[in-house]
């Protein structure tokens, strides 16, 4: 068990951090968030086109590498479909040996996945509808998964997308009626689990990045903000709250990379590790959104402060690919499963 990053991983993280730092300033993120015109989020797609298509091949890389990238993307709240395209769509196409997989890795074609039926749970089904399909308006292809481990790839243009507004406008989700008579390919149950695990851990890594921004921003604020002639961060009531929240984030961070290592090694405990990672990351990010907001006081409860963007992402991502409670219940099934 070695958490030491190798040189390539250090370089990857630094390159990603520098790219996001230079190319994805808060103004761009806000523009992407507030531009909800009928033509779609232009700032989001242009940022993705200019900078994130080059990173699509990370979908073929080690999960640890993918997570390092997603954490940085989450920290700045990078606009666009990078998470779903890289972490779910590309691995899914690889798993079924789809002829377009290389084009996706090259950043020339993009896609998303449609799993949930109308009930919104990320479980394969035969519902006539697919819901909670992320970023469907920003990609070329939707891979529809159905009961019996069937995968159908459909051009977005052929679907009648309906946006369902969520708390998080920076990650739009859509529903559509599944067209009749689609060709489909079967994916092996084990391969499907690998794909979903990969997407889940990558989303958890993104949540860690969201949590890191919230933690850094909060700590900086309470060190500087003076009330009653002293920095509010010197009050024990606030300190202990933030220590507990920091512990949640630190252990979630470690759990995410542990799960990534388990996936890369094909370890027997990988399913458990993924449930732990997503549950812990969702809990930690939401806790920092809540306690960060409380620590910032009135300024945090404004439209102009960027905190609400993260609060929304934390709340919405908690539900994508299963909430903490959902993962805990899956974990319980494994804990009580006969050996």
């Amino acid at each position: 068990m070695d958490f030491t990053l190798n040189e390539d991983q250090v370089l990857l993280r630094e390159t990603a951090r520098a790219m996001f730092g230079n190319e994805c300033p808060p103004e761009l993120v806000r523009d992407a968030f507030y531009d909800v015109t009928s033509s779609g989020p232009e700032a989001a797609s242009s940022f993705f086109d200019r900078h994130l298509r080059d990173w699509a091949a990370l979908g073929d890389a080690a999960v640890v590498d993918l997570c390092l990238f997603m954490e940085e993307a989450g920290r700045v709240l990078a606009p666009g479909p990078a998470w779903v395209n890289t972490s779910l769509f590309l691995p899914l196409l690889r798993a079924i040996e789809h002829p377009s997989a290389d084009l996706v890795a090259a950043g020339e074609v993009t896609g998303t996945v449609a799993v949930c039926g109308s009930d919104g749970y990320w479980v394969l089904n035969n519902d006539p509808m697919r819901s909670f399909v992320p970023h469907a308006n920003e990609v070329d292809v939707v891979a529809i998964l159905s009961a019996g481990n069937q995968v159908s790839c459909v051009a977005v243009a052929e679907l009648d997308l309906q946006e369902v507004a969520t708390l998080d406008r920076s990650r739009p989700v859509f529903q559509f009626a599944v067209p009749a008579g689609l060709d489909s390919t079967e994916i092996g149950a084990e391969q499907l689990a690998v794909v979903l695990n990969r997407g889940t851990v990558a989303l958890a890594a993104e949540l860690i990045g969201v949590g890191r921004w919230l933690m850094d921003t909060t700590l900086e604020y309470v060190r500087e903000r003076v009330q009653f002639d002293r920095p509010v961060g010197s009050f024990q009531g606030l300190q202990w709250k933030l220590v507990d929240a920091a512990l949640l984030l630190e252990r979630a961070d470690a759990a995410v990379y542990y799960a990534a290592m388990c996936l890369d090694a094909g370890a027997p405990e990988q399913d458990r590790a993924v449930h732990v990672a997503k549950a812990a990351a969702g809990i930690a990010a939401r806790r920092w959104a809540r306690d960060g907001l409380q620590s910032l006081g009135g300024i945090g409860f404004t439209w102009e402060h960027d905190l609400h963007l993260r609060l929304r992402r934390a709340q919405a991502s908690e539900q994508l690919l299963g909430s903490a409670s959902w993962h805990h219940d899956r974990l319980a099934e494994l804990i009580f499963a006969p050996d």
Partner: protein, 389 residues
């Protein structure tokens, strides 16, 4: 980042496991959640096991053979602690000698005092550590036991409390005040005091559990030779920071492993109590599982920084997190027994009362070795960089 160790580490593990399979005493083979019993005497099997560990280089593996080790690397030390902890095997029933006194003598003692380290680590000499006092608990630096120079001696007067194994120890590694005119951290020294010195009285103090493990130590004009001073005069505060730096990167292993074994026990109780399908029980167990396993990952992450010589802020969280987690795990183990949760008669409860006993012991975990409140203050200022209150 990778999940597995190299061949050299695995060879080390194999050798260790062969030793443990052959030598772990029957009394602790099944693992124990606690140490300390009704009697303060150190059992024979425990002394023999400690000596055997020392003689085979398994007592403090990072030390050289003459100190009970085998020059193990940090990684090997991690593996060592992990294998011991996963079996619930303790190296010693009196940790002060090998974990605090031995390492401190080696780091701060003169040649003659360094020579006392091997027997402290092997357990041949039982030591107690005189730190806390009635008015110096969390605020250790305010200790008031006075040592006044008198010719070739110090005359020591004062009181220590919560001193583990004082009633069976031969020697005390004792923190005393040697200068009252300076800031409290700067007037502390360490003396080696023979427990049979005239004027020294030990009164056993029962734990809340009923066990006798610690004591009050009264010192009334105890004469201590000046050569028993450890390190420089008034440099004692530095020595409090000394203990077992070699193992600091992996001290969390024992508490996480103990929590993990307890959690596995919870699953078995839930099965036996017919609560396997109870939704509330299932979710609670899964939450605890998430907590235990993410803390293990956090410990490993900190270890990676530690092994590279960096500071490991992750480890500042571990004592705080694992001590509170263990309290909740044991309390849940009682709750799973329904109305029998409060019963301690071994005939009527799960595992002879293990859960009730361990729950009581776990209550000390958030007090001893730095309270949870102090831990939170330390993390707030040193890790999160928040201003002091």
């Amino acid at each position: 980042m990778k999940l597995t160790w190299g061949a050299e580490e695995e060879a080390f593990r194999d050798e260790l496991l062969a030793f443990l399979d052959a030598e772990v005493p029957e009394e602790i083979k099944g693992g124990r959640d606690w140490i300390g019993d009704e009697s303060p005497e150190i059992p024979k099997w425990a002394s023999e096991f400690q000596a055997k560990l020392f003689d085979h280089g398994w007592m403090v593996p990072s030390y050289p053979p003459e100190l009970g080790g085998r020059n193990a690397t940090p990684l090997q030390t991690l593996i060592f602690l992990e294998e011991l902890a996963s079996r619930g095997v303790s190296r010693s029933v009196h940790f002060g000698g090998y974990a605090i006194v031995g390492p401190s003598l080696l780091e701060f003692g003169n040649e003659q005092q360094k020579g006392m380290a091997p027997s402290a680590i092997r357990g041949d000499t039982v030591w107690c550590v005189g730190m806390s006092e009635p008015d110096a608990g969390s605020d250790l630096a305010s200790l008031q036991t006075r040592a006044v120079p008198d010719g070739d001696s110090f005359i020591v007067t004062g009181q220590k409390v919560w001193t583990s194994y004082a009633m069976v120890a031969e020697k005390c590694f004792c923190y005393v005040r040697t200068d009252t005119s300076v800031a409290k951290h700067k007037g502390i020294s360490v003396l080696i005091i023979d427990m049979d010195s005239p004027g020294l009285e030990v009164r056993p103090l029962r734990h809340l559990t009923g066990a006798i493990e610690f004591a009050e130590v009264f010192l009334n004009e105890v004469v201590v030779p000046k050569e028993n001073l450890v390190g420089e005069l008034n440099s004692g505060w530095r020595i409090t920071m000394g203990s077992l730096a070699h193992e600091r990167g992996a001290l969390w292993v024992e508490s996480v492993s103990s929590a993990q074994r307890a959690l596995e026990g919870l699953v078995e109780i839930a099965r036996r109590q017919g609560l396997e399908q109870d939704g509330v029980v299932r979710r609670k167990l899964a939450e605890l599982y998430e907590e235990v396993h993410s803390l293990r990952a956090l410990g490993y992450k900190g270890f990676a920084s530690f092994a590279q010589g960096s500071s490991a802020p992750e480890h500042s969280f571990m004592k705080l997190a694992t001590s509170e987690l263990r309290q909740r795990i044991y309390a849940f183990g009682m709750e799973l027994q329904g109305p029998y949760a409060a019963v301690v008669d071994p005939e009527f409860v799960e595992e002879g009362g293990r859960w009730q006993q361990s729950w009581q012991i776990s209550l000390a975990g958030t007090i001893g070795g730095g309270t949870s409140e102090i831990q939170r203050n330390v993390v707030a200022t040193r890790v999160l960089g928040l201003p002091r209150g």
